[in-house]
């Protein structure tokens, strides 16, 4: 019996020794060079950690509390985390803010490098918890707690642009665009504890937002880390923060050089943005400002193709036209304005069939040498088409054309003057209960706005037009109170067509 027990123990010892060798190879720590020993990259795990920048020191601030708590869970971090997460939801549901703040503190100590935890719970604080409170000061307190929560997460995850982006988003969106934005923006400016030594003039939530978006952008540009969202949407954010800042200045009653410079900066940043390179989906690079250039190059290349055998495309079209059914040909020959709906449909079908693909034109070229050249041109045309498609799609995503016109227009003295007149009219109407002065101011503003929308027709059918409709509604209210009819020849009558509900 004793002998068997002895043998078993020897076997255990041998097995332990045998396992130590691979374990040592795997988990040996890296060392730095000293006078007596050269540097060692460590075991495989240490090398992988170094390669993927996963060491705690690479990720961000090292937190002893966090390490202690993780150790204390004795390998049950997942279970403890799940229980705490459940508790956090329960506390939120029961509006137990004391419990919630304590649990969030513990969760983040357990998962300091899980970015999703920081983002989810900061959103919880800034958006969900703040909405539970009635007093705007309390709401603001929780919005800021959410932002600080993200900033704390950022200190543990220094290479993580998503946290910086979220700070920018919260500061811009929650403080600048919520129902309580006027009060929030004021509290934000006055918040000495949050801003510490930052000068009062720079304490604008949109500038703060822009600062964080730029930090995030630098991280992506310099370190090549993923932004965690579409590139175009990611890089537009600092520009939009500047736009929002400029608009907010006017909303707060700042006009003149201050507003003009802010809009000019916004316009310059939009132009920079239009020149920024973005990867497309086929491995190429696009710039949103290159649309006109790409379109002209496409047209140029197509002309080069047609020049290889002049008249060929037309012959192909004519041949295909002869193959069309009689009713389609008749529909095509009928002037568009005289076509019946059936003829419209037939003409569309016919036009689609008559659109000869460039590859087909190239294939029909008689001269073999020219055909080779044509194939090259067809490939270039395809590339141009792809690039144009990508540029157009991304321009639509960020409403590029509208914003480019808008920032240019807003920087004009006439626009700033129009906005000043509207601001003054509103103040006189709402705060001084005056009717005549606001009417006069509104009418002056409408006259200026007429010139602007004529110059920038895109402003007739977007959010700017919707904002202007709100102004017109206020103007109409004033006229009603003055017992005067709304003018038949109203200067912005074309904008009224946008109205969904008549006044």
């Amino acid at each position: 019996m004793n002998r068997r027990s002895f043998i078993r123990k020897v076997v255990y010892l041998v097995a332990i020794a045998a396992l130590l060798a691979p374990m040592s190879m795997l988990s040996q720590p890296a060392t730095v060079a000293t006078s007596s020993a050269p540097a060692s990259p460590g075991g495989k795990l240490a090398q992988l950690r170094d390669q993927y920048q996963l060491g705690q020191a690479n990720l961000g601030e090292v937190d002893p509390t966090s390490e202690t708590l993780k150790l204390m869970t004795l390998g049950l971090r997942g279970f403890v985390g799940a229980v705490l997460w459940h508790k956090a939801d329960e506390y939120k549901e029961r509006a137990d803010w004391l419990g919630l703040s304590a649990v969030l503190e513990q969760i983040t100590h357990l998962y300091p490098n899980y970015v999703g935890v920081w983002i989810y719970q900061s959103h919880n604080l800034s958006y969900n918890v703040s909405a539970e409170w009635d007093d705007f000061r309390d709401k603001y307190y929780w919005v800021i707690r959410g932002i600080q929560f993200l900033q704390k997460g950022g200190s543990y995850n220094e290479n993580e642009p998503r946290l910086l982006t979220q700070v920018g988003f919260f500061a811009g969106n929650k403080i600048g665009h919520s129902d309580d934005r006027n009060l929030f923006r004021k509290l934000f400016r006055e918040d000495d504890d949050f801003h510490k030594a930052q000068p009062f003039q720079q304490r604008d939530n949109f500038l703060y937002s822009k600062q964080y978006h730029l930090m995030s952008q630098r991280l992506v540009d310099n370190k090549g880390v993923s932004p965690g969202m579409g590139a175009v949407l990611f890089h537009i954010q600092p520009v939009m923060s500047q736009v929002n800042y400029s608009a907010a200045l006017e909303n707060d009653g700042t006009f003149g050089p201050g507003a003009r410079d802010a809009w000019r900066t916004a316009a310059a940043e939009w132009r920079d943005f239009s020149r920024r390179e973005f990867p497309d989906r086929v491995g190429g690079v696009i710039r949103l400002g290159d649309l006109a250039l790409l379109e002209s190059r496409l047209e140029e290349t197509r002309q080069q193709l047609d020049q290889l055998e002049p008249g060929l495309r037309q012959r192909l079209i004519d041949a295909r036209r002869d193959e069309l059914p009689e009713e389609q040909r008749r529909a095509l020959d009928t002037p568009a304005e005289l076509r019946s709906s059936e003829q419209d449909r037939l003409a569309d079908t016919a036009e689609q069939r008559l659109g000869i693909p460039d590859a087909e034109v190239a294939a029909q070229i008689a001269d073999p040498q020219a055909r080779e050249q044509a194939d090259e041109l067809v490939a270039r045309i395809a590339n141009f088409r792809q690039a144009i498609f990508e540029v157009r799609m991304n321009r639509e995503i960020v409403n590029f054309d509208y914003w480019l016109d808008r920032v240019e227009m807003e920087a004009l003295p006439e626009t700033i003057e129009a906005r000043r007149l509207i601001y003054e009219a509103r103040r006189a109407y709402y705060e001084e209960a005056d009717l005549l002065r606001p009417r006069e101011r509104f009418e002056q503003a409408f006259a200026l706005w007429r010139q602007l929308v004529d110059k920038y027709p895109r402003m007739k059918d977007d959010i700017t037009a919707q904002d202007m409709l709100e102004v017109i509604r206020e103007y109409e209210q004033i006229l009603k109170q003055l017992d005067e009819p709304f003018p038949q020849d109203f200067i912005l009558a074309d904008l009224l067509e946008l109205r969904v509900n008549p006044f």
Binding site: E93, R94, A95, W97, S101, D134, D138, D180, L183
Partner: protein, 603 residues
């Protein structure tokens, strides 16, 4: 504080509890006797079985009757001496380290850091004391058996009951000493951690433009306002009257008094220590009912869509109201008027005026005569405790004077009616959200009372640990005690599982859903497998239902919310805790004794 069930008096509880307790105890004795007899009968035949069961029962009774307090105390001392050098010191060391580094674990910018520190100290004290109790109780007897030191005890003229009870008593005394030290150190830690003051200089103050002071009264002439310095992650807005006296607004659950001193011809502002940080309110709760928008009495108010339906809502701008009916009011309890405290929820269906709170009103009403005071209006501030003091002399809506007790209280009964004034806005209330506050008890005493719950938990753990260790070896006794603790803290959850209150909570059903990644919203496929799962889960529910009857209700002994939210722990609650624990300790001791007596060493 949340009051999800109506608080009951000790007598109400006792009258309902003692019959069930007797029934359970009798059932336990019967099952143990009959079960033991049957098992032995199968093994040794009925005659031998009868003989052994008889001897055991008689021996146990004799042991109990002839127990000597002196020998029990000797056993207790022995248990204490054995354990003193072990886990207790480690426990103290850990507690000390935890408090030293508490600042890293606790969010000091919380809305109520005092409450958070209390919860922190309470949690760690509970954890360490229970772990200590677990370790010393589960390993002691098995270690004695393993090292055969038990023979030196059992060869002395000492009874099995004295050994078991002595162990329980000795470990409990050790645990008590440890808990007293932890409570004392914890108290000092909490009070010292939140103690602070702020700086305030003349440069921080400007002439006031507000119409109301922070307390809601009219702003005195010449008042100045400003902000204190930032200390412990907060600062206060402050209002000073023309004489240089004032107070701060509430921040992080407390406020400060501000006074002025003149030195060398200069004025200095002195901000006092934090006030209102720790409370031990002794509230009088009323019975709550509602009035609907037409003014008719209804049991509940409106539901505005919250998942947690604890609160009902009162619609503004209508006749809807929440009415609390208070009973047993005596004039001598309210010499300075009627202090009413409330914490309201606000639900808006429209924004209302920017930056303005929702207006509400309170009316005191005689439930018999219907005589009512003129409404007292207030601005609701959600989640803050708002105190309104109604003086003894009041007036009705026409200005006619009313005496609080002569005109409004009938046979000690008074109604308070709450209304929300703006249309399409709502107040959310529950029974515990509005109460009368005749007095506050001592926070220090309340803090000690809060630790009584931990002490009772410790007694239960020690008793259960010793009980398991009378017939299991050390590690198994440890696991069994740990199981008892974990289930004791999860009793509410287990009861919900057993009653089917937790939807889709069946053990096998949950397992299947996890493996199949099927959410709770989806039904399982019809078929034999599902039927088998349902039957198996029903069996488990039956088992859990009975198990939950036998587990110690450790979670109900946790009174930390009373401390953290500033309410006095009612004496009745403590008596219920104490007697409930005693009711559990008796059968645990008996089981331990019987099991110990069945061991050869104890015969």
């Amino acid at each position: 504080m949340v009051l999800e069930s109506d608080p009951i008096t000790f007598l109400q509880w006792f009258n309902a509890a003692w019959p069930s307790w007797l029934l359970l105890l009798g059932g336990l004795v019967l099952v143990a006797t009959v079960g033991g007899f049957l098992l032995l009968a199968v093994r040794d035949g009925p005659a031998a079985a009868g003989d052994r069961v008889y001897s055991l029962v008689v021996g146990t009774v004799v042991d109990l009757v002839r127990m000597s307090p002196r020998r029990v105390w000797a056993m207790a001392r022995l248990a204490m001496l054995e354990s003193l050098r072990g886990w207790i010191l480690i426990g103290f060391a850990i507690f000390g380290v935890v408090l030293l580094f508490a600042v890293f674990f606790v969010d000091s910018s919380s809305v109520n850091p005092g409450g958070l520190y209390i919860k922190f100290v309470y949690f760690w004290s509970m954890l360490l004391v229970l772990v200590m109790a677990l370790l010393i109780s589960a390993f002691s007897l098995p270690n004695d058996l393993k090292h055969r030191t038990i023979y030196t005890v059992v060869t002395k003229p000492v009874r099995a009951s004295e050994i078991v009870l002595g162990r329980m008593l000795g470990f409990s005394l050790l645990g008590t000493a440890a808990l007293v030290v932890m409570a004392g150190v914890g108290y000092l830690f909490v009070v010292r951690s939140v103690n602070h003051t702020h700086e305030l200089t003349a440069a921080d103050l400007v002439e006031s433009t507000d119409l109301l002071s922070p307390t809601g009264s009219e702003m005195p002439a010449g008042a100045r306002q400003g902000r204190t310095s930032r200390v412990q992650n907060h600062r206060h807005r402050v209002t000073i009257d023309a004489d240089g006296v004032g107070r701060t607004e509430v921040a992080q659950g407390h406020w400060h008094e501000v006074s002025t001193v003149e030195r060398d011809g200069q004025t200095f502002y002195v901000v006092g220590p934090p006030r209102g940080q720790f409370h031990a309110r002794v509230p009088i709760y009323g019975q709550l009912h509602f009035k609907d928008r037409a003014g008719a009495d209804v049991r509940k108010g409106l539901n505005v869509g919250n998942i947690w339906t604890y609160r009902s809502y009162v619609e503004g701008g209508t006749l809807a109201a929440a009415v609390w009916r208070f009973e047993g009011l005596r004039p001598e309890a309210f010499p300075d008027g009627l202090p009413v405290e409330m914490t309201l929820r606000v639900f808006r269906t429209r924004r209302g005026e920017e930056g303005r709170g929702i207006l509400g009103s309170l009316v005191l009403r005689n439930p018999r005569t219907g005589v009512a005071t003129a409404p007292r209006n207030f601005v609701a501030r959600e989640f803050y405790v708002d105190q309104q003091v109604f003086p003894r002399q009041l007036s009705d809506p026409s200005g006619k004077p009313l005496d609080l007790f002569a005109d409004l209280v009938h046979n000690g009964t008074l109604e308070i009616q709450l209304q929300c004034l703006p249309r399409a806005q709502f107040f959310g209330v529950a029974r515990g959200d509005l109460y009368l506050l005749p007095r506050e008890a001592s926070f220090d005493v309340n803090f000690a009372k809060g630790f009584v719950g931990i002490w009772l938990q410790m007694l239960l753990v020690v008793a259960v640990g010793v009980m398991w260790s009378t017939f299991l070896n050390g590690p198994v006794a440890l696991l069994a005690t740990l199981f008892t603790i974990v289930t004791g803290f999860s009793l509410e959850f287990i009861q919900k599982l057993a009653s089917g209150e937790i939807q889709r909570g069946g053990t096998f059903e949950s397992m299947v859903r996890i493996f199949n990644q099927k959410s709770e919203a989806m039904d399982l496929d019809d078929g034999l497998a599902t039927r088998v799962i349902t039957v198996a889960d029903t069996g488990i529910q039956w088992f859990l239902g009975h198990l939950s009857q036998m587990l110690p209700d450790l979670i109900s002994l946790v009174d930390v919310d009373y401390l953290a939210y500033g309410f006095d722990i009612p004496p009745d609650r403590l008596w219920i805790h104490a007697l409930g624990t005693l009711g559990y300790l008796v059968p645990v001791f008996l089981i331990g004794l019987v099991m110990f007596k069945t061991r050869e060493v104890a015969r």
